[in-house]
Symmetry: C2
């Protein structure tokens, strides 16, 4: 127990010589095919990776991409790779980003069949499900690290379990951020993910990517946070419903309450609250706004935007910091001292 | 720097309520096809995993194996899996093992092309090689975790990089063993591997599986250590040479010097030293005996044995502790106070 409180303190006093520019969440729904088990949405993942490169590495939108995934391609006996390509190249500095991804169609089957989130080592099914869930989510992590590396991003997979994240009744109890910060100091891009972890009281549980983002944001204080999802942003009701309205700007007050600033319909705030409450029985928008609001309260802008679109690229590149162009589609959740 | 000395201290004071039975090294040459890039020796890996199950889980040599890799098989849309199989089962306790594997034909290409072991972030090739090496070795780690899980072993991949291992001029400088010990306390089987890590002085380097084993053995004090390799054990000269003699028992004295106890040829010790020195320019036997001797000096028996053989199973199961049957083929390296 002493060890743990040590660690929590440690994560509370993170010192970085570089400030983190952005923490990005790659939503599970945006990078996997939700209705196909363990299937990556290759097209989206490639576009997301390319946009991340353009946002992280200055001047990289033109010029040759030097891939960092030198794995053998299936069916080929050799690895094609030229040392000279790298020797000619100046050292490209990538600005400090942290990537966190969800599980989408990976891990969900294994976790839900076994009830890992409820814990209980005394059930063989739970322990087996814990192992199976970790295999599935680390498999996805490897594929995402590879996709980013192919775009020349020095990405490094870091499983929260292995990094020492654990929970106490599902709340983060320990999270040694020193490995994450060391990687950032070395110019690498940590790639974390929702994971199965040990829990003090439940034995084990699921630590979601969103909880990881909140914890990282609170301790690493990035300039901004971007959630890449499969819809344009947050709506006043499920986006599949007719007349659903995209909420473009939400202001969060000191006490955590929030209100819609754009669009400026007089009755919007009430309407949102009602429809949100109804919608939220299925988990969803209210939770998402709530978590984003926690981050915004720290003075950090949160952009919720559709992955692999020009709107996503604008949010990732930081061009929206300080201005809010009318043609940008997405949801900005920001702090308001008023 | 303060953080690091903290961590080193931490790894020096590991407290476990269970004692570790065995640390096993799966040699790269035993589980991969050495001359085929990124290719697993599936047959050997399956046999090794099965023998590990029999050694770890009491009574598991008979009865149904409940697999813990519930990944979708390629070409199949669904995951085949029955919850009921697990519910009927009593909780099988696996005895505390730690698995460490080498890289074999994974990682080697990427590391040697880029010179990761020499370090130097200022060269773009080194940083790219660091990323590429980690992708390759974590890919192998995932496949080994899956092979073990398919045999019902609750295996958990733990990359040394993510677990906070780092070096200072290639010596282990920090290694937070708390995640490893927590996993063991929870009845899980940690699976570590040779990895690319950060180095205080060189920026980065390669941390070999053998160095990891030595460090773990010194701090976790297992009952015994088993190295699974692709030859029967340690020979007096390269085993491919005619008349090569298998060294069956080596005694290590307090001062680290060692001598061959079996076979009892009078001139063996001298002969070994000569041939070893000649052979060792290519790396190899002398290094292996030296590292094993470091572990043996702690009073821990080290068995070097051919993977996937009956000799390996006998070493893994612990049946050789306290006796040395004539029909066992392998090399025992043990402490001798004489």
């Amino acid at each position: 127990m002493e060890e743990k409180s040590d660690k929590t303190e440690q994560s509370g006093s993170v010192h970085l010589t570089k400030s983190i520019r952005c923490i990005v969440k790659l939503g599970g729904a945006a990078i996997t095919c939700k209705n196909e088990l363990e299937t990556i949405n290759e097209e989206n993942l490639k576009m997301v990776s390319s946009q991340l490169r353009q946002s992280m590495i200055a001047g990289s939108s033109s010029g040759k991409v030097l891939g960092m995934d030198w794995s053998k391609k299936s069916g080929e006996p050799e690895i094609s790779f030229t040392v000279d390509d790298f020797e000619d190249q100046p050292v490209a500095e990538s600005s400090p980003f942290v990537v966190v991804h969800g599980a989408g169609s990976f891990g969900h089957f294994q976790a839900s069949k076994s009830g890992v989130h409820k814990g209980g080592w005394n059930r063989p099914l739970v322990k087996a499900g814990f192992v199976a869930t970790r295999i599935s989510v680390t498999n996805l992590n490897l594929e995402i690290v590879r996709a980013l590396a192919r775009e020349g991003i020095p990405s490094i997979g870091m499983s929260p379990f292995a990094c020492g994240w654990s929970t106490s009744e599902r709340n983060v109890a320990s999270a040694d951020l020193s490995v994450v910060t060391k990687a950032i100091e070395s110019g690498l891009v940590p790639v974390l993910h929702g994971d199965a972890v040990l829990d003090d009281l439940l034995d084990c549980t699921i630590l979601s990517g969103d909880v990881i983002i909140s914890h990282l944001a609170a301790h690493l204080k990035p300039d901004y946070v971007v959630f890449l999802t499969d819809v344009l942003g947050v709506y006043d009701r499920p986006p599949s419903e007719p007349n659903a309205i995209l909420l473009r700007e939400i202001a969060v007050a000191e006490d955590g309450s929030w209100s819609v600033v754009r669009p400026t319909l007089q009755d919007m705030n009430t309407r949102v609250k009602t429809s949100v409450a109804a919608h939220d029985t299925t988990g969803g928008m209210m939770t998402k706004i709530g978590e984003a609001a926690m981050i915004a309260k720290l003075g950090i802008n949160v952009y919720i935007v559709k992955a692999a679109t020009s709107h996503a690229l604008r949010a990732l590149s930081g061009e929206l910091q300080g201005e809010f162009p009318d043609d940008w589609l997405g949801t900005l959740i920001r702090f308001s001292s008023k």
